[in-house]
């Protein structure tokens, strides 16, 4: 079956687009220097990372996790605690702790996943939501680690106001690129194939020898790693963190929504979803200041997407493009052309030899 989007030309176009997008992302803070704009851009990149991370586990495996703020908050509180205990000063060095915060969140993912992944489908969704609330509750009550509702302060970076955002933007860009690269690599690997097989028929996959428990847990922890880094950067940027800010139920839903909007289980879907939604959300919040209205508009958009682009933006556009390409190329495909499908007549006897 010939996919018109699988030609070298289109493959090249995809690589080219990715390269241009990266260049644009690097150049962005040099072109738009307004801190209000770079702040929105930085949050957008963090959501690109978080949503890609969500998709890496939930989109590929079909396990809809709605508690990834557990990782986000764990990363944030890890960074705050380490900075406090080591009496660190603000500066670029703090960013070196971000991967450690990610590792910590990934480790948190192991027992959480071990518990939650005993369930499937809607039970799994409910379990992840419950675990999320347990973590939020712990953040309020484990005073020695979180200072409860009093919150925690992080070191203040010594940067000037007009370049302040750029450091965070750079860190967020690195995390976003790592997330996309991981999600691309996983999609093309055996590990990714195992996850996709689990999504389609988990028992069958196990019957064929896929170590489903291990594969799911590894992907869950990997998601935790990326999301934890996003949480740590956010904490450093905000300067102070409180339980409901970093363990935020809205975060759980938003990253899933972004992946749905862009295209569940695709590499580019969550990226596109985050690029569309996060700036809009920030704008609506600024514009109406009342978060309620932005939530309502958000919900309406989601319904529209489900109604008109049920597979998400990326797969729907790809389908449309394929259709256009095939219809344009149609006149060459006359009835006399070789049939697209195999027929027994196409097989020479040699092709029928029993493979060993």
């Amino acid at each position: 079956m010939n996919d018109p989007l699988a030609t070298p030309l289109w493959r090249g176009a995809r690589v080219g687009t990715a390269g241009l997008a990266l260049i644009a992302a690097v150049a962005f803070p040099f072109v738009f220097t307004n801190p209000a704009v770079t702040s929105v851009a930085m949050f957008t990149l963090l959501f690109v990372g978080s949503s890609s991370a969500w998709n890496l586990f939930s989109g590929y495996s079909g396990y809809m996790a709605l508690g990834n703020a557990v990782f986000f908050g764990s990363g944030a509180y890890f960074l705050a605690n380490v900075a406090k205990d080591l009496h660190l000063k603000g500066g670029i060095g703090i960013f070196a702790l971000v991967p450690l915060a990610g590792l910590f969140a990934g480790l948190v993912g192991v027992p959480v996943g071990w518990l939650a992944l005993r369930t499937r489908r809607h039970t799994f969704v409910v379990v992840t939501i419950s675990i999320f609330f347990v973590f939020q509750l712990l953040a309020y009550n484990l005073h020695s680690l979180t200072n409860g509702s009093g919150g925690m302060q992080l070191p203040m970076p010594p940067w000037l106001a007009d370049t302040y955002n750029n450091y965070f933007y750079a860190a967020a860009l690195v995390v976003a690129v790592v997330a996309i690269a991981l999600s691309w690599a996983v999609r093309r690997s055996r590990f990714g194939l195992d996850l996709l097989a689990i999504r389609d028929d988990e028992d069958r996959a196990r019957g064929l020898g896929v170590r489903t428990e291990r594969v799911k847990l590894a992907a869950f922890a990997l998601t935790g790693f990326i999301t934890g880094m996003c949480g740590a950067i956010t904490a450093y940027y905000l300067g102070s963190i409180y339980p409901p800010f970093v363990f935020d139920a809205l975060f759980d839903v938003t990253i899933a929504l972004m992946a749905f909007l862009g295209g569940l289980g695709t590499v580019t879907g969550p990226v596109v979803g985050a690029l569309l939604l996060e700036p809009m959300q920030q704008y609506l919040t600024l514009r109406f200041s009342n978060a309620g209205i932005s939530l309502i508009l958000f919900g309406c958009l989601f319904l529209l997407v489900i109604r008109f682009l049920p597979e998400g933006v990326v797969p729907s556009l790809a389908r449309l493009l394929r259709h256009v390409l095939r219809t344009r190329g149609e006149p060459q495909a006359g009835p006399g052309d070789p049939p697209p499908y195999d027929s027994p007549a196409d097989h020479s006897p040699a092709a029928r030899e029993v493979p060993r």
């Binding site: 069958r204 896929v210 195999d342 029928r352």
Partner: protein, 265 residues
């Protein structure tokens, strides 16, 4: 000859329904064993119990002398028991090549290159006539084609024994012949088969020994020519004598639908 697969007095109930009612069955190493019986006699349930998709209420399953009763599906598969499903279970949103590749996880690391190299995967797809669809999503295929994908998936792993659940259902007759040839070829190289099938010509032509199930138990067992003359089999399953005429094509006994042919305008 040694017994490769031994099922002893297996029972399995669903609510009040006794799907398996003291079922015993032995498959000798290196044979092609057939399993026939009316719809609902428990053949698929027996497959599920053997491969660990369902747990027996009582009784034992031994493979190669080792008790495998109640082991996880993956473990049983790892020992060398492969199977296909009557209602196909392929990975709908993966391509055919990817479907084949999933089974890679179930073979020893050192054999992966040999069993799952690109050339061998394409050979397997070619055998079932699906080369042109290698990059198509399995969910877009017809039932018969998905059936063929399943066959390729199980053969790829080169298990010691293969349980085939209606391999000829929904497959065109020419290809049924090729599948029979292929099974024979693999059998000569030492692979053991247990085949559930309603296509009598396929079963009679292929199997060394045939067991007949009814109401959750094996009621008869023997060589094809013995089984087809067994009055219990004729009554419970075939509903009449099996023709031996040369015209008895695939679908076997359907040649005897006299009433229907007579009703043709």
């Amino acid at each position: 000859m040694t017994a490769l697969l031994e099922v002893r007095e297996v029972r399995k109930s669903f609510g009040g329904l006794h799907a398996l009612n003291g079922c015993s069955l032995t498959v000798q190493e290196g044979t092609v064993a057939g399993l026939i019986g009316p719809n609902g006699s428990g053949k698929t349930t027996l497959f599920n119990v053997i491969t660990g998709y369902e747990r027996a209420d009582a009784g034992t399953v031994a493979f190669g002398g080792q008790d495998v009763t109640g082991l996880a599906t993956g473990k049983i598969g790892g020992l060398g028991v492969g199977r296909t499903f009557q209602l196909t279970r392929v990975f709908n949103r993966l391509t055919l090549l990817e479907n084949l590749q999933v089974g890679r996880a179930g073979v020893p690391r050192e054999r992966r290159g040999e069993l799952y190299g690109p050339a061998r995967c394409m050979e397997l797809l070619d055998f079932v006539g699906l080369t042109a669809l290698a990059q198509a999503q399995a969910g877009s295929l017809s039932y018969g084609q998905r059936k063929l994908v399943e066959l390729a998936m199980v053969l790829a792993q080169e298990p010691k024994v293969v349980l085939l659940d209606e391999p000829a259902g929904g497959i065109n007759p020419t290809l049924i012949g090729q599948i029979a040839d292929r099974i024979g070829e693999l059998n000569r190289r030492g692979m053991t088969f247990l085949v559930v099938e309603h296509n009598m010509e396929f079963v009679m032509g292929l199997c060394d020994v045939i067991s007949v199930m009814e109401r959750g138990a094996v009621i008869a067992c023997g060589r094809p020519e013995e089984v087809r003359k067994d009055p219990r089999v004729l009554d419970a399953y075939l509903g009449g004598a099996l023709d031996d005429g040369p015209d008895d094509g695939p679908g076997g006994p359907t040649g005897q639908t006299e009433g229907i042919e007579g009703a043709q305008p």
